[in-house]
């Protein structure tokens, strides 16, 4: 494989190209205290990115600007500001069609403005990395944290991972490329973090030396030919068979969609190996569970500690990947639970819907607590919700 043959050589910046597993697991790591935006800078510095395109929108602007600094320093091949988010995502597609490893970031209304591109990226099998620092999208305007935005991209066909912490974020950014670029996957990936809670707060992050970098993207492993105006999907964009009114055209279009969903399924195997599973679980023998993703898990952990102090045993399940969704893992992890709480930073409860669709006896799911629009979710709010529901139950679940 061309990529493997480059291991041990040096890129233009002089970084040593190492085996991804070495970078992820074996290379010595040093503790740094940094914001999520700074995590982007440090991860992309080690990701051998060819092209990054940006457009300012809170809260991702700072991270995007830092990637610009990496371009000045020679860590990123090309960098420029697009005309708006739709243009940015279209330009990312062009770069990826041409065989580049691409990185971009967006948030909130920017995500929605760019939306048309995401299923196009998927159908074209472009392994672009999109970092979404999620925030409110609705009127009245809010720049504050809210995860509704993730629920809106769930069925675009992209891989979607949701980081709980700055450390997750650093690791997901690097590992995400390795999964997204596998030839049997080869899909865009959205690495999501909760805006401000992760992007603008500092946390301990353990990172390897910037003397090391991932192997470059190898476009010759692409499951589609690199950009060519005479072959699909580009050919289809100018001469689409989907415009033909016959069964075979419809069936081909449907099969094309199925294949991109199949590619998402294939990512499970690679993701499980790198992330150690699609979920993380603690005390799932408990009758009460908290199941969620992102910083709702972090708040849930603190609620578990508070409840334990009162003698109430609660377990927790952290969902790392929203797409592919860990249906079987969630089913197994919740099999002993009598009540499943799903705290979320949005008003619609998309995560609760996913969990309800995954498990038997889904009346066990309590949708909430919910906060949104920038509200924090103090652990006491989760504790209060759990106690309120328990009070309504006849049986005691105290240990």
């Amino acid at each position: 494989m061309a990529t493997k043959s480059l291991i041990g050589t040096y890129n233009k910046k002089g970084q040593k190209i190492v085996d991804p597993d070495y970078l992820f697991y074996d290379a010595p790591r040093e503790r740094q205290f940094m914001t999520g935006s700074e995590v982007v800078r440090e991860a992309i510095k080690r990701a051998n990115v060819d092209v990054s395109i940006s457009y300012p929108i809170t809260p991702q602007s700072e991270a995007a600007a830092m990637v610009g600094d990496l371009w000045v320093e020679g860590y990123v091949g090309e960098y420029f500001r697009g005309e708006n988010e739709f243009a940015v995502m279209s330009e990312c597609a062009g770069a990826s069609f041409g065989g580049a490893r691409v990185f971009t970031t967006t948030s909130g209304p920017g995500t929605l403005r760019a939306y048309e591109n995401f299923p196009m990226w998927v159908g074209s099998r472009l392994p672009i990395m999109l970092n979404m620092m999620v925030r409110g999208v609705n009127s009245p305007l809010s720049i504050q944290p809210d995860t509704l935005e993730i629920g809106l991209i769930i069925d675009t066909g992209m891989l979607i991972w949701h980081a709980e912490s700055a450390q997750d974020f650093f690791d997901y950014l690097l590992m995400g490329y390795m999964v997204a670029e596998e030839p049997d996957v080869h899909l865009p990936i959205a690495i999501c973090i909760d805006g401000f809670f992760v992007s603008h707060t500092k946390d301990d992050v353990y990172i390897p030396s910037a003397d090391f970098t991932l192997p470059p993207y190898d476009p010759y492993r692409n499951p589609m030919p690199v950009m060519d105006m005479e072959v699909p999907p580009v050919r289809m964009m100018r001469d689409p068979f989907v415009m033909k009114s016959n069964y075979i055209s419809y069936a081909t279009q449907a099969s094309w969609q199925q294949e991109t969903r199949a590619a998402c399924e294939r990512s499970r195997k690679h993701t499980i190996r790198l992330l150690g599973g699609l979920i993380e679980e603690e005390n799932t023998d408990a009758e009460i569970l908290i199941v969620s993703s992102g910083t709702a898990v972090a708040q849930g952990r603190e609620a578990v500690r508070l409840l334990a102090a009162e003698g109430i045993k609660v377990g927790i399940v952290k969902i790392k990947t929203i797409r592919p969704f860990p249906y079987e893992e969630v089913r197994q992890a919740t099999k002993n639970a009598k009540i499943i709480f799903v705290p979320e930073f949005n008003v619609v409860g998309w995560m609760a819907r996913e969990i309800k669709a995954s498990i038997p006896d889904n009346h066990r799911v309590v949708e909430g607590p919910h906060v949104a629009g920038g509200m924090t979710m103090p652990p006491e709010v989760i504790v209060e919700e759990i106690k309120k529901v328990l009070a309504k139950k006849k049986e005691s679940i105290h240990e």
Binding site: R221, E230, R235, E259
Partner: protein
């Protein structure tokens, strides 16, 4: 949920992608037979038996081996030609139908001499192909085509993939090299000589 098997069709108006039914691609050294992971040698034997017992065994080489874009492609092409020659010597109906690119063909494809991933069933039906092997076809196009074949034809499909394999084929190999294609050819020759197929 009962285990999904990747069987020859016609399966359905719109069959599912095998990956979405829980079929997982093999690791290096392994292959798939009808959705089950097996040792690659076993898959070689099964593919050889299918070729030898077919009425119209057919190879569908794609652009990755039809165009002389690197030294490995040329060696693979030679290996595929050798496999075809062995099949042809066993069965004069054996075919070799290229897929040189993926362009839609207008006003319609000539199914006697070409195959297109978007409507491969036309070529399968026209030539009454009962066993075929894809080789050198970009993975997305191969999966697309293999699933459409399973949906609408009774053709048994084999995929010789240079990457991770194709679960939408009934038999798949991964990490294909010229040497691996030669092993398949040698297996065909061995079983043919033994008469055990």
């Amino acid at each position: 949920m009962s285990k999904y098997s990747v069987l020859k069709g016609p399966e359905a108006f719109l069959p599912p992608a095998a990956a979405c039914e829980g079929v997982v691609l093999p690791d290096p050294g392994q292959g798939l037979i009808q959705g089950d992971i097996v040792q690659e040698t076993l898959a070689m034997e099964e593919a050889a038996r299918k070729f030898l017992s077919a009425k119209n065994p057919t190879l569908f080489p794609g652009p990755l081996v039809l165009w002389n874009w690197n030294e490995t492609a040329a060696r693979k092409a030679a290996a595929i030609k050798r496999l075809y020659d062995v099949l042809k010597s066993h069965n004069s109906n054996a075919l070799h139908i290229p897929m040189p690119d993926y362009r839609p063909k207008y006003p319609k494809i000539d199914p006697a001499i070409e195959i297109n991933p978007n409507h491969p069933n036309l070529t399968i039906w026209y030539n009454k192909i009962d066993v075929c092997m894809f080789v050198g076809v970009h993975c997305h196009m191969a999966n697309l085509s293999l699933k459409i074949i399973r949906g609408g034809t009774d053709c048994y499909t084999i995929a010789m993939c240079a990457q991770a394999g194709h679960e939408d084929a009934m038999i798949t190999f991964r990490d294909a090299t010229p040497e691996k294609i030669d092993i398949l050819t040698n297996t065909v020759e061995r079983l043919k000589a033994s008469g055990d197929y």
